[in-house]
Point group: C3
Chain length 255, copies 3
Amino acid sequence: MNFFLKQIPERTQKPREYGFTMAMDKGLSLRETEDILESSADYIDIVKLGWATSYVYPKLKEKLQLYKEAGIPTYLGGTLFEAFVVRNQFDDFRKLLDDLEMQFTEVSDGSIQLPHDQKCEFISTLSKQVTVLSEVGSKDAEKIIPPYKWIELMQKELDAGAWKVIGEARESGNVGLFRSTGEVRSGLVEEILTKIPFEKIIWEAPQKAQQVWFIKLIGANVNLGNIAPNEVIPLETIRLGLRGDTFNHFLSETV
Amino acid sequence: MNFFLKQIPERTQKPREYGFTMAMDKGLSLRETEDILESSADYIDIVKLGWATSYVYPKLKEKLQLYKEAGIPTYLGGTLFEAFVVRNQFDDFRKLLDDLEMQFTEVSDGSIQLPHDQKCEFISTLSKQVTVLSEVGSKDAEKIIPPYKWIELMQKELDAGAWKVIGEARESGNVGLFRSTGEVRSGLVEEILTKIPFEKIIWEAPQKAQQVWFIKLIGANVNLGNIAPNEVIPLETIRLGLRGDTFNHFLSETV
Amino acid sequence: MNFFLKQIPERTQKPREYGFTMAMDKGLSLRETEDILESSADYIDIVKLGWATSYVYPKLKEKLQLYKEAGIPTYLGGTLFEAFVVRNQFDDFRKLLDDLEMQFTEVSDGSIQLPHDQKCEFISTLSKQVTVLSEVGSKDAEKIIPPYKWIELMQKELDAGAWKVIGEARESGNVGLFRSTGEVRSGLVEEILTKIPFEKIIWEAPQKAQQVWFIKLIGANVNLGNIAPNEVIPLETIRLGLRGDTFNHFLSETV
């Protein structure tokens, strides 16, 4: 840090098992990628190339290389996995992961109907090839999954070989974990945490109020995802109690 | 594209007569302009320098040159045209277009009162000098134009020499085609489409939900405008059915 | 300007005593900083490194140097001052200002309880070291300060040595001067202006509608703050009556 302040919450260090930030890249140019690495590399633990933007982005391999050189793993958004699966191109997807030398992948069913046994099989198969993040929750705001079901799905996906499970929210933060207004489904989150360790969950939380809510509930070292690149530094200050939103929360904790 | 996926909607190719994306530049630096060209040039068909930002932007000619070298036409936002007209400086405006070697211009009356005959005369005069895009709709949320009138205005402006007509929405997407909440005035759009071919209309649709609505109604190759530079790649994935919002829409169409 | 238009409101010139724009940098990379300087340096009078982002930003001194070379003063957000004060590290804060060669600082109490006499003492002490901007208003949406109290606080802080006083709004523009919806507390602002000269006040106004409101009330040369870097050029056009929102307002004034 640039100077010394007392009573700052302790943060985990890279490579972080928890307390990590997943940033979403939805089409940054190579130079913009370098920029975000310059300002924020210390605070980004993994980058998702949002949904299927990797299909249209013109310099995909060069971009992956930039992140690799910075020591930041990347993965392709779950919607791309689903786009291959729904077209019966799962083998092509596996070849793509090899071709791009990916170390991580996401398995999700936010836009497709996938029997859960089959989803778990995909997780199991892919986990022999790469590290798997699996996502629970629908992109459809009207598909409400009750808490006990979230827990059951998450546990089975971890058992099937997922490294961590992701709670769905989309880029906008208004489905899955959240109501259409962006408000957290707090009962859902609290019930999940009675059964699944917080270290195993990445909460998609693109809106500031959502990040604040999770940090107040779980602490500075909660795993948060779908963070816009230019919000990574702001998020880090919220984790450290150095923005108005958590300023007093951490002070009282650390005093 | 970076890899092969079946059943992807067919997109028109550059130079596109329809299916095109108009991006809005409201003051990008030269390097930011290069960045957007690197990531998104294939998906941008024309760039508008938003409203009168060209008046204050310090390196205007250099920026126009960058777009020119990338083969992407540009035009100055309609508010600038109106600013000249309302000051009785129309001749200065024509000289400016020459001085800047513009190939396109916009004619609008979103902020001024302009008898429609006179607007059509401006279109007619300017269409001898450059390619004209004319815009219908007020920037004033309280001026509601009924559908039959939109159609009449659009048709007369096309007859006067406009290459295409633009449906007003502003940068924010909450006037003209849209209610103050951003909701599409769907009856208006559907009625317009009974009389004016979709190829001749550019719908300003800065919000994602608006883009999705038009793509679902008209297809992957609808003309959309006022797209923020960093939303061009996301928009392209929506056109291709590769984002949650249109994922199933195009699958059922292409199967 | 790039070309001539009649009847444009006259703007103050740098170094501006009023009519100035305070931009907020919440973690721009060095190259992004250069970019914003290229496009907008003429229209930025001072830059705030938002709240305590300076604590985590990795190349702080290099960034400060870039602004310095462009002739644009900078200061560290008030939350950082508060973070030092609440930890009894005020002397460390003063040393930090020296170490970073800061010429300006902010004194605020948006997140801490600070007796006003003590706040004024901080202002007085710091004003012997640097130029002080002091901020009035809480970051807590539920702490409503009545107008007469705003005036009293502002006057005392100016008397204590503040160069200008800032009206609180946060990055989001939904506290202090504004209701939680972003709507201006217009009665408050108008009452303040009966007692405090507009030249002495910087209104934080991150949202466009807020900027428009202040420009219509006070004129092109109102002091506005918390402007996102990519909104500086748009704001300048609003000041000049060259965007729809103020297009007719200034025309009628200047005719």
